[in-house]
């Protein structure tokens, strides 16, 4: 019986959506041969109340690690605890989300267990000898199949690649002690800085409206924000050029060295479509491009393009989207 251990990420006392994705992924792996999914969740006292969400998404057991000093994520404590549990419980696989915290944590657990790992995978399957996983490479221009033959198999799953599925299991809560004294962690979180409140994160928003130099001036980004508001559930992104110019924060940058997003709809406003930028958004389901230059490379990847001045077109589109949404 091959059980799967899953790390369930929390932040500020809540489970993150990526935790449910990881549990769902773990469930798919465990179901191959009737194994169990054990989810590990760390947090401040009281985090145990979130355990039932994990059970609802397929966790047979939820191992809760509660400690005052774990109000903020501590990768050292999490790594030590997950690795210790993985060793003790003889798990066949350990699954993480490839979120920012996951990307930091998973390799550490792998190194503690003395094994390699497949990072940021898009899909995976068990084989007789290990795991095959698909993973984007070369600035997301290719998809590579990684074959992992170590035991246990360590994976991190790209956020959004697995849709959380409600497959309720018992979700039996067990208390787990941290494998090291959280007070002795060397990296200490001094402060958490929140991003723009109320707005969905780029990695989670179903719609992303993104702006580039074609907007001509930083003030014109207001039009992009208004369009995002009209969609209701949209996040705002930008190109590297405008982030470098200081029009938008670097954390909004979408591209080869910025965020990679895969929304249902990506609206590219005044963006020429440099390879550097395409690397971050080419897997969006539908791409709309608005640009003055009809030869702009963005039109080659866009499903729908409008040629013209963004400053004229975007307000018209914002009004039309608002109208369309009212109808629902």
């Amino acid at each position: 019986m091959a059980n799967v251990l899953v790390f369930a990420e929390t932040r500020s006392g809540d489970l993150r959506k990526v935790a449910l994705e990881a549990v769902t992924a773990g469930r798919a792996l465990a179901d191959k041969d009737g194994g169990e999914v054990h989810a590990v969740m760390l947090g401040a006292p009281g985090i145990a109340s979130k355990a039932e969400q994990l059970g609802r998404h397929g966790a047979d057991v939820v191992l809760v690690v509660e400690h005052q000093a774990l109000a903020n994520h501590s990768a050292e404590v999490a790594a030590a605890t997950v690795a210790a549990r993985a060793k003790a419980g003889a798990y066949a696989a350990v699954v993480f989300s490839a979120s920012a915290q996951g990307k930091d944590l998973a390799p550490r657990v792998a190194a503690k267990l003395g094994v390699p790992m497949a990072a940021d995978v898009l899909s995976f399957e068990r084989t007789g000898t290990g795991i095959n996983a698909k993973h984007a490479g070369y600035a997301s221009k290719v998809v590579q199949t990684l074959t992992l033959s170590a035991q246990p198999a360590i994976l991190s799953v790209r956020p959004g690649a697995v849709a959380p599925a409600a497959t309720p299991k018992s979700g039996r809560v067990e208390s787990l002690a941290p494998a090291m004294d959280p007070g002795t962690a060397r990296v200490v979180v001094k402060e958490m800085v929140q991003g723009r409140s109320g707005k969905p994160d780029l990695g989670e928003a179903p719609v992303v409206v993104s702006g580039g130099r074609g907007l001509r001036a930083a003030e014109n980004f207001r039009l992009v924000e208004e369009l995002a508001d009209a969609f209701g559930n949209a996040a705002v992104g930008c190109t590297r050029a405008v982030a470098d110019d200081g029009w938008r924060p670097q954390s909004d940058q979408i591209g080869q060295t910025g965020r990679t997003v895969s929304p249902q709809l990506y609206v590219a406003v005044g963006i020429s479509g440099a390879i550097q930028h395409l690397a971050g958004m080419r897997t969006a389901k539908t791409i709309v491009a608005i640009n003055r230059d009809k030869e702009a490379p963005i039109f080659k990847v866009a499903d729908y393009g409008i040629v013209g001045d963004a400053l004229e077109i975007v307000p018209a589109l914002t009004a039309a989207v608002r109208e369309a949404k009212k109808g629902h």
Partner: protein, 250 residues
């Protein structure tokens, strides 16, 4: 202040990539190569730290065949003091094997900081940095968009989704550099000439047998783009109609 920066030589990501005839990997013949983007940021940050302190040295390390010396020399021409080439016939896909080889080289170096770029542009895994930290028993700080080092302690800003953490940690530590922190300086022409005279030590890498391999590489299906539906604000109603009825995203 001694800083080691681990760098990787990768193909130019603007290239059109072809798959090898056995379908396993990208055929890299004829491609142009350069230091991976985030690694360039890491070298820049390391140089800025030693410049600000007015003392210290930046040592660059790279694992791979002789060709990786190009990337090492570029770092030397940016201002790194010396380079270490861990020689291997090819760069393994197994990041753990790489981390073990690096840790074995770095552990007696007396480094205050060991830096990596967030991930290499070709493998896009980002595992080698944290694994190396773990093997060296050092604190690991990743996704760093701001870094300050004062008196044996570091402060960093870590970019999360929709938020950021400000963390503090003791040195020595391993740090992985994200976007937004610095643009790498152009190697100055004097720097290019000086690089020739800087020490570049080449020694065999201590590599274990890999337990992760790339067994297939495919090009994602080409998007069928190119449909321009109109010009100016007049095209908006048609766009909305298509988003509702055809794409069904509105």
């Amino acid at each position: 202040m001694k800083i080691a920066v681990c760098i990787k030589r990768v193909p130019d990501m603007e290239s059109r990539f072809r798959i090898s005839s056995d379908g396993k990997v990208v055929d890299e013949t004829g491609l142009k190569f350069d230091m991976s983007d985030f690694d360039g940021y890491a070298v820049e940050v390391a140089l800025q730290i030693t410049e600000k302190l007015g003392q210290g040295e930046v040592v660059v390390v790279s694992l791979g065949p002789d060709a990786v010396q190009e990337a090492l020399r570029k770092a030397l021409s940016m201002g790194a003091a010396r380079a270490i080439h861990l020689k291997a016939d090819r760069v393994p896909s197994d990041g753990f094997a790489i981390a073990r080889a690096l840790a074995s080289e770095l552990k007696s170096g007396g480094f205050d900081l060991i830096m990596f770029g967030k991930h290499a542009m070709d493998t896009m895994s980002g595992v080698v940095g944290p694994m190396t930290a773990e093997l060296l028993g050092l604190p690991n700080v990743s996704a760093v968009s701001k870094l300050d080092v004062v008196q044996g302690r570091g402060t960093a800003r870590r970019e999360l989704e929709g938020a950021a953490e400000i963390v503090e940690f003791p040195l020595p530590a391993v740090v992985s550099i994200d976007e937004g922190i610095a643009r790498p300086r152009y190697p100055s022409l004097k720097g290019i000439m000086a690089a020739k005279k800087k020490p570049l030590e080449s020694k065999p890498a201590q590599l274990d047998a890999p337990r992760l391999e790339v067994t297939k590489t495919e090009l994602p299906p080409d998007r069928q783009g190119g449909r321009i539906i109109g010009e100016g604000a007049a095209a908006v109603p048609e766009l909305v109609r298509l988003l509702q009825t055809e794409a069904k995203v509105l």
